[in-house]
Symmetry: C2
């Protein structure tokens, strides 16, 4: 397994030797305290009142430590104080290692003393039934009236590994290898055990940490606020997080955006991939797992790397140190084996990277040093012959570093060969800003040299792919993520909703924002219906118009392909009779008479309100199979035409719009324009609606546009 040392991270703009700029965030006394009181201090290093003291003294915290317990005169060689009132100063932070019922009275005393922040270890709050929830509500109500910052309850506590401010009872600090020197990786989780597990795994890889944070019940400080702190924290270059539920979506999004704007890497594990998992999470924290698809969409739009693997998270955190190197998805693969080149190409393509065929001029340059049976197209198989011509290695690497046809160069060679190439790799890496990466499944002795030279080294193809692919895609996306700006664009004027929302009014509402209507008229009588049909032109469609009938086909309220006035007249009578039979109480305004339109495909375009992220837009092909195959694309609003195009292109069924198997080309431009108009409409409707849907949106042949065939607007609170 790789041993990653933080010293290799090339982009550090801070160090333990120069003082960090003071963070003005209100969590500063919580996460970077100058003095710490431990209320309920114990002499026993395995007790929750003893462990933080054991850590603080063992790891050499330089701030002031105040153990508090009337039973002791001294603990861990420190003077022990009888109570908080006796302290010679108001400490920045008080850690409460006391039982739940004692917490609130102690908070009052902390406030009286002038303590700035408190960590509550105790369980027995919202995670434990109605009584605990009431206790937590009481705590929240009290704290809301103070300036006190309260972490937890039901939290394992924190560690600031750059100051050794250990305010936790995590035994992982006793067993994981100690960190030497400073670190730039922060860990932020909604589970203490996950925090400890990820820390242990990351320390096996020798990752250097800044903050170790687990949020507990988040009664007063939630995930988003910690994230906000870390975005402003000069020491933190990357954050690995574990999320079960986000309580403050907008604040979370702002914090994530701050990460993105500062080129800091944010990697989040969102719990609840399957229903079974979600069930366990609910039992665990009484948190309702949000909709996974919306999380995926939101994370992508916020440049957050989503991970479902602790080792991958740690490897990504390591790669963050190379994030200022020029890189992207187009990878050149250099091996000494056609088979290994093929395996790598398979893996990379499967993970969403490109392995482009190299330009002919570059191939010619490479061919100069590669025998006929080697490959130069990409993967590049330099063959074992490279042993005999080491000078060629540097030439080849330079040519690749200078080429604008690739973004990243990966070298996979057995250890002894990698060792021979290490000098050249480091020299070229130093001379060019391009990212070079190495894989060594053997036992290369030059790993540290390579890493110090800016070349990350992986010791397995699978691990390398799992880390490199999201990192390179992140590199690419952060250069061209327009959505972060788009989301701050001016909101359309908020429009009020009409009182009644039948199909016709829904369509008119959306048409007002630029969504193309079908030629259509309301008809209250058979005469009006035939007049409308004459005006529109045959064939026509008749549909019952009622705000109370949602399932028109089921009600016998839809007739298609009506070719003349007599058919329209008969259809009108039948629709009225069937609909009254189906729903005797329904208000029936008449029928909609519409042109019978033909097209290439039908889309469903919908927006639903997510409790965390707000309105999310979903696009898919219409029909039952789309649902079975879950072939949809989702984005948070706003969505512009370019994003709409990306969404359509993500659909597996997209070829149905682009001439698949001799089908006519669909008007994709018009579809994109309509999706963007839909986004504007939903933003304009704002808080008035919970759900808006156009289904189907008929996409006609190229040049002929799109038509809303049906639409639905559900006012908020319905």
């Amino acid at each position: 397994m790789n041993v990653f040392v933080v010293q290799e991270i090339v982009s550090l703009d801070w160090s333990i030797h120069k003082p960090c700029p003071m963070n003005t965030h209100r969590l500063e006394p919580l996460l970077n305290p100058a003095s710490i009181a431990i209320v309920g201090a114990s002499n026993h290093p395995a007790r929750i009142g003893g462990m933080p003291l054991a850590h603080l003294t063992r790891f050499g915290y330089a701030g002031r430590i105040y153990p508090i317990n009337p039973k002791y005169g001294e603990v861990f060689g420190l003077r022990c104080w009888p109570d908080i009132e006796a302290l010679p100063e108001a400490p920045d932070l008080a850690v409460l290692a006391i039982a739940a019922p004692d917490v609130l009275p102690m908070l009052r005393r902390c406030v009286a003393k002038g303590v700035r922040a408190v960590i509550v270890y105790a369980a027995g709050f919202a995670e434990e039934g109605a009584q605990g929830a009431a206790l937590q509500a009481e705590l929240q109500a009290y704290v809301a009236g103070t300036d006190l910052v309260v972490a937890g309850p039901n939290a394992m506590g924190f560690a600031n590994l750059n100051t050794q401010a250990h305010t936790n009872f995590a035994s992982v600090f006793n067993t994981a290898p100690m960190q030497s020197g400073s670190g730039s990786v922060s860990l932020l989780t909604q589970s203490g055990n996950v925090c400890a597990a990820v820390y242990a795994i990351a320390r096996r890889l020798d990752l250097g940490f800044s903050h170790f944070i687990n949020t507990g019940n988040e009664a007063c400080v939630d995930f988003a606020q910690y994230l906000e702190y870390l975005a402003q924290d000069a020491a933190t270059e990357v954050c690995m997080g574990y999320v079960e539920e986000l309580r403050d979506g907008p604040r979370f999004m702002a914090a994530a955006e701050a990460f993105a704007r500062r080129d800091k890497l944010l990697i989040l594990y969102k719990a609840g991939e399957t229903d079974k998992g979600s069930e366990a999470v609910r039992s665990h924290t009484s948190a309702l797992a949000g909709d996974q698809a919306v999380y995926r969409a939101a994370f992508r739009q916020l440049n957050i790397i989503q991970s479902h693997d602790f080792v991958q998270m740690a490897q990504l955190a390591h790669l963050a140190g190379y994030r200022h190197r020029s890189a992207g998805r187009r990878v050149a693969i250099i091996t000494i084996s056609g088979a290994l080149g093929a395996i790598l190409a398979d893996k990379f393509l499967g993970a969403g990277l490109d392995v482009p065929t190299l330009p002919q001029a570059l191939q010619d340059q490479l061919r100069a040093g590669i025998p006929d049976y080697g490959m130069v197209s990409n993967p590049v198989d330099v063959t074992g012959n490279v042993v005999n011509d080491p000078g060629f290695v540097r030439t080849a690497l330079q040519a690749l570093a200078q080429s604008d046809a690739v973004d990243c160069v990966l070298v996979y060679a057995p250890g002894y060969l990698l060792d021979r190439m290490a000098g050249d790799l480091c020299a070229v890496s130093a001379a060019y800003p391009r990212l070079f990466v190495a894989i060594d499944t053997g036992a290369a002795t030059t790993r540290e040299q390579l890493r110090a030279g800016g070349v990350p080294v992986f010791d397995d193809i699978g691990v390398a792919t799992a880390a490199l692919a999201p990192f390179l895609l992140w590199q690419e996306r952060r250069r061209r993520n327009r959505w972060l700006d788009l989301r701050h664009g001016a909101l359309p004027a908020q429009a009020a909703l009409p009182a009644s929302l039948d199909e016709h009014r829904c369509k008119q509402l959306l048409a007002g924002h630029g969504l193309p209507e079908v030629r259509e008229r309301v008809a209250r009588t058979a005469d009006e219906a035939t007049a409308a049909a004459d005006a529109i032109g045959y064939p026509v469609v008749l549909k019952v118009l009622s705000p109370d009938i949602a399932h028109k086909t089921e009600a016998g309220g839809v007739r298609l392909h009506l070719a003349g006035a007599q058919q329209v007249r008969e259809a009108f009578a039948q629709i009225m009779a069937s609909s009254r039979d189906y729903a005797p109480q329904a208000r029936i305004a008449g029928v909609l008479v519409g042109a019978m339109e033909a097209g290439v495909a039908e889309l469903i375009v919908g927006a639903t309100r997510d409790p965390v992220f707000g309105m999310a837009l979903t696009v898919g092909l219409g029909g039952v199979l789309t649902e079975l195959y879950q072939d949809v694309s989702q984005r948070l609003l706003p969505v512009d035409e370019a994003m709409a195009r990306e969404m359509l292109a993500e659909l597996k069924a997209f070829p149905l719009l682009t001439g698949y198997r001799g089908r006519p080309l669909a008007d994709v431009d018009a579809a994109c324009a309509a999706i963007a108009a839909f986004s504007r409409a939903v933003l304009a409707l704002g808080a008035h609606v919970d759900e808006v849907e156009v289904n189907p949106l008929l996409v006609k042949q190229v040049g002929q546009g799109v038509r809303m065939l049906d639409a639905l607007v559900i006012p908020s609170g319905h």
Copy 2:
């Protein structure tokens, strides 16, 4: 990273201390030679003529070694012989470290000397253009007339790690940690570099090896023959393989079956997951990558675990040591954290395992030792409280070991807690045959104790899932794989094909094997057509009948929903006219008049000949979306009704047959019977056909059966 030692493997029924039974396979002198000559011996340990000698002497091969080179009197402290003729005996094996043009003459001298087997290192054969291919053909032709066993050419050579018979020039043996003691894992690859890479990775995990085999160009001995040897090899308990192309499908299948029947684990990496990868493989070995889907089907049916990750392969090889423990897909998860339990449940469910809710009685037993805020349903969260009641751990583990509701118990606890539970885990594991597995992301000190006690330990959730899931599914499948017997069933009598195969004759052919026809008649005139329609009953379908018109709809040769005699008459005339316009040269026999049938869904059922595995059967829902979503299931023949049911259930669109969203239930039983009948029909047609397809097979409502609406039989060679 885990350190796996071979001594832990509990199922060894052999050891280095008792002599292995002699393998009577013809590859024995190649892979277990008693004497080895190195032709082209060198004194230099980095040369291909020196490295095998360096290995043989360093690792202590006990057989007789004969370096051959007229230039030297001694190499590596061994007497060097001037030529093969000078040797005092005919060696079992000669290793040829000489150039391609010198190989054939040397083979003749080996035969003359009585050598039994030869390894050819030299490149410059089929992998290098026409001239090399000719040289290889010459070699093959010569060897075919002898009893000589020839490995390679273009091979890196072998290692028998139980006898230290090193006949390779693989530098990995200089760098990878040396194996202490005997091993039971064999490695068989179609690439020398992959062989070395996997060996290096597996040795990092301290896996104990038996054979190291890479096959080179397979001019005389192919992958399947090596596999056959390993199936018979008493030392080999598990084989990790890497396949680019299988040259002898039937032999491979027989060897894989031998592995399955002996409960040996076979894990194969099939190259070419993507087109790009396949391209590189082709360039590499001039091998045509087989169809990936057929490989997947074949591997599953042969109980082969398919892997695309070297580390996963090594972990699976380790797990093979626990394969005689009772295990299966139903896993009980024991943690001290709700969050980690949820994460594990997510991972396992995503990988195809079950995490069943435990029976109430078992939950009650567990609840006795688990506080209210812990979970007992599965995942089981014993909470940190378990520290205070260690006696409960054994009670709980015993209850799980005795339950028939779970097949495997996974314990995930921080290292220090796992250490406290280790004694109980080992005791229960010793008392019951059930598989217990542990994950430790910390630094447990009892890992070796646990493994020795029959409990594998993983140090990461991702790695554990990747290895455990296929292993448990393999455990389950090997107990109920009926196909291995089915494939030896009596073949149906081979039927000759009719001379001309129009739609009607294709259907009749298949109907003869039990596939339900639609009521249908051939009509050559309009009168015959109306008579047929009258007899069948309206509405009817008319389709042009011609062996020369494949795309009947395109030709204007199909008319549906014909409700009376007059419509049939008109349709007949139109079809004849359109079809003659469309294809003036076509032989047109008339039309097919068929009942207009309605159903719930349409299936496509097809069989195509794979060059390696023979006839493979594919099932999917009809229509263009099935193609886009690649929603098909594939199996090698024969397929019986139970297998057909599995295939249908694998389709994502399967709910369309089982009442999805209020649709009528389809006659799935009849569909399965028809698929099994189709399998019998294809087997009966045997070598006469290359492709058979029923498309669509209409599936009607439950109780109403299925109907072939169209069928196609393509004779072989067309």
